[in-house]
């Protein structure tokens, strides 16, 4: 387990360092003593049954959910409930939601330039040029004037990815990005994420797509009931599960695939 003791030396220390994180929803202990270190350029996939705390972990990393104990340090900034710390961390951590969450009243281009204009203080032409560039990369360049309500789910999710990238984040988090999509759209979104992974972007991805996980991940984490059960390379984890819980989970996933 990596030590997260020296967050000052940004070069050697991990980009995200989580130490004994605990989170409760009321009486529900949703994250238990969870520690994690993510280094620059690493691609982490988190899998596990629903309700295992995967999404909550992502939401804790950018402070959408408060945690009760333990520390989260993102790129040298300890995450507190202070808005200055929260905003600094969120600026550098891009997030893609299961339900896209595009701003419904803004066009595709306006969605992409809002944060760069106001948070990064970019000039309008500069922000728009960056946005158009990213929108082309996610194959949405022809839709910059459309409203989210006019797009398919897959198209919306690709815009959401471009919107997050426009902030030039240091790490991208994907929270089950394809769970709300049909197989055809799932494919087009996964291809975009796969292409992004080859650019050296640091990524954390929560997904149920095991084939995709194997393709993209440097490391896979298996969580169950708020605990980190096993982690390792995709080959190790999927071929040689060490725990009963992971074996049961993998069998279930495979059975779902066949049926």
């Amino acid at each position: 387990m990596a030590e997260a003791s020296n967050p000052v030396a940004a070069e050697s220390s991990p980009l995200i360092a989580i130490d004994r994180l605990n989170k409760w929803f009321g009486r529900d202990h949703v994250l238990t003593d969870l520690s994690l270190a993510l280094s620059n350029g690493e691609r982490l996939v988190i899998c596990g049954p629903s309700g295992s705390g995967k999404s909550t972990l992502l939401r804790c990393i950018n402070g959408l959910e408060p945690h009760q104990s333990g520390t989260i340090v993102v790129d040298g900034t300890p995450l507190t409930r202070q808005s200055s710390a929260l905003e600094r961390v969120r600026r550098d951590v891009g997030m893609v939601f299961q339900s896209f969450n595009l701003f419904q009243h803004l066009t595709v281009l306006e969605n992409c330039v809002l944060a760069p204009l106001w948070v990064r203080k970019q000039s309008k032409p500069q922000a728009e040029a960056t946005a158009v560039d990213y929108l082309h990369r996610v194959h949405m360049g022809d839709y910059i004037g459309s409203y989210p309500g006019q797009l398919s789910g897959g198209q919306q999710q690709r815009v959401a990815i471009a919107r997050a990238l426009c902030m030039q984040p240091k790490v991208m988090m994907f929270d089950e990005p394809t769970s709300a999509l049909d197989p055809e759209m799932t494919k087009e979104v996964l291809e975009i994420i796969l292409a992004l992974s080859t650019t050296g972007m640091t990524m954390i991805c929560v997904t149920h797509e095991m084939a995709f996980a194997r393709q993209i991940a440097d490391r896979v984490m298996f969580m169950d009931r708020g605990q980190l059960i096993e982690q390792g390379s995709p080959a190790d984890l999927f071929e040689r599960p060490q725990t009963e819980r992971l074996r049961v989970f993998l069998n279930q996933v495979l059975r779902e695939r066949r049926s």
Binding site: S83, F97, W118, A164
Partner: protein
């Protein structure tokens, strides 16, 4: 105002207009057949509309009605915003004040409130002018209703919109200003517009305070000349025209803040 349902034919709108014209013609014919004498009403019309000032140089008629309504709209909006914030806050005192105020002012008649502010308060040494008492009563009464409209509008914006803004590192005020606020406005404008139109008409209640607004003038001219029908019809028509102007403004605003929803065909 605009036909939206898909099964309606292309000339639906034309037929609606023709129906309106027919009904209006019927109404006019009805009044004409009563052989009313609008000569006196015509003579008093500039006063009713308020294009002439009162002998002591104050606005009157429809102009005063609009002035009272506009002042009350602004005050009601401020009160309603504060109350809505209180209703949504986790502070028990703020929540308590907001709910108490809303319950009190929604649970008592506007007319009683107007009279308390104007006639009852002087008894305990607080003397308000007719104008300020009327505006205060209208503002506090309508503020209570408007607060609920604003609150439900804010609650109607999907929580994911706010979260997406937070995840991008936007500060809280900017999320309200650029993301949740405009989307809530889309939900708030139709019921708020209805409230403001209703306020325009309820401003006639302040006539009992002796303010020379539209209803007061119509009634006093009617009493003086015994032309009740003519004067009250004139007042009604002016109120109606003003309401239509309000409706048009509301419709414009709806279009402006409906961006992104209209186009998806909902």
């Amino acid at each position: 105002m605009s036909p939206e349902a898909p099964h309606r034919t292309a000339n639906f709108g034309v037929k609606v207009w023709l129906t309106w014209v027919a009904l209006l013609g019927l109404l006019v014919w009805l009044f004409v057949s009563l052989h009313l004498d609008f000569g006196y009403a015509k003579q008093k019309l500039p006063y009713l509309l308020g294009v002439r000032l009162t002998p002591d140089g104050f606005i009157q008629g429809a102009a005063l009605t609009l002035f009272v309504t506009a002042c009350s709209m602004i005050c009601a909006l401020l009160v309603a915003l504060l109350t809505a914030l209180g209703r949504m806050s986790s502070n028990p005192i703020g929540f308590g004040i907001a709910t108490f105020y809303a319950s009190l002012f929604r649970g008592t008649p506007l007319l009683v409130q107007v009279l308390i502010f104007y006639l009852a308060l002087p008894q305990v040494g607080i003397v308000l002018g007719a104008l300020s008492a009327g505006i205060l009563a209208l503002s506090l009464n309508y503020g209570a209703y408007l607060a609920e409209t604003i609150r439900s509008g804010m609650m109607g914006v999907a929580p994911g919109q706010r979260e997406a803004g937070m995840a991008l590192g936007l500060p809280r005020w900017l999320i309200v200003w650029k993301i949740t606020g405009p989307q809530a406005l889309r939900l708030i404008i139709p019921p708020a517009g209805a409230l403001f139109i209703s306020m325009l008409k309820d401003s006639s209640l302040v006539s009992i305070l002796g303010l020379w607004e539209l209803n007061f003038l119509a009634q006093s001219y009617a009493r003086a000349s015994y032309h009740y029908m003519e004067m009250l019809i004139c007042a009604a028509v002016i109120y109606w025209m003003l309401s239509i102007v309000f409706e048009v403004i509301q419709h414009r605003l709806e279009l402006r803040f409906g961006r992104g929803v209209e186009s998806s065909g909902r």
